[in-house]
Symmetry: C2
Subunit: 145 residues, 2 copies
Amino acid sequence: MKTNTPTTTALYSIEQAIKAYRKLCNKNISKIIEDITVDQALILIILNDNSSLTQMQIGDLVFKDYASITRILNLMEKKGYIKKGINNKDKRRSLLEITTKGKETLTILSPTIQLNRNTALKNITEDELNQLYTILNKITNNCNP
Amino acid sequence: MKTNTPTTTALYSIEQAIKAYRKLCNKNISKIIEDITVDQALILIILNDNSSLTQMQIGDLVFKDYASITRILNLMEKKGYIKKGINNKDKRRSLLEITTKGKETLTILSPTIQLNRNTALKNITEDELNQLYTILNKITNNCNP
DNA sequence: TATTTTTATTTGATATATCAAATAAATTAC
DNA sequence: GTAATTTATTTGATATATCAAATAAAAATA
């Protein structure tokens, strides 16, 4: 029997889990590469897998505001992980490319990224993972108008 | 059968759900009260329920950095929702009190807060909620060293 | 008691989140 | 083809996140 204070709601537990996970990720990643965050690594992976994404598509993929994407990408370019050009088929769009340094960084980080996931999901069964997906998708859909 | 790209991991679904929920909350709350956020409302609720909490305790409750708490509380004081004094038993600590405006705001927001939770958790059974807690707690514990 | 260590909060610097508005290119309507 | 509208990105302003360092009071130790 649960009481109904804000700190006992499902949403609070979600917040708690994701914050703990992000903290773990950033701690382990910055042990290996100092100047990169989980989110930046995620964007690197996405750029590595899918070529020619727009900033808006990236923003939608990582659930971030487009203004944030602009700034994050600028920092990533400044640090040499990506290169930003202009898409000549549509000059409003930027042409995003992962650099060699970016690819090397992914290679170096790959084991850590895998370790983070494994650590977070330790002792969670396939069944439970499926339950988790199902419930979270319900919540996401409920919240999206 | 799930592939192993970052956007298909459980953690990504968690991020997705919590962002959708926060967006919903902030949208509905700001329809009623313009200058308050979900997090600030949560802190108000906590201050209303538990008297004489320290800033560190609040930070731990809402999973926020103490520096953030300092700044958030300052803004909340500036907007008249709380009052910050000095705890005379321990002058390092601040004495946090919810103001009348703060209490009134909670009363006004209460139905919206409830609506947000109900909206997010619509069609989710008691069983599923318990599964969710169990799994999320596992993740949280796995991530906390 | 004086000194050292710990604790609670604050401040500074930088990155990110969010919203609104600006910019500029592409598309549509006329 | 020109004007109006839509789309992609950027910029500005403000709030929040995060880490490190500063401050000041309390507690522990000598």
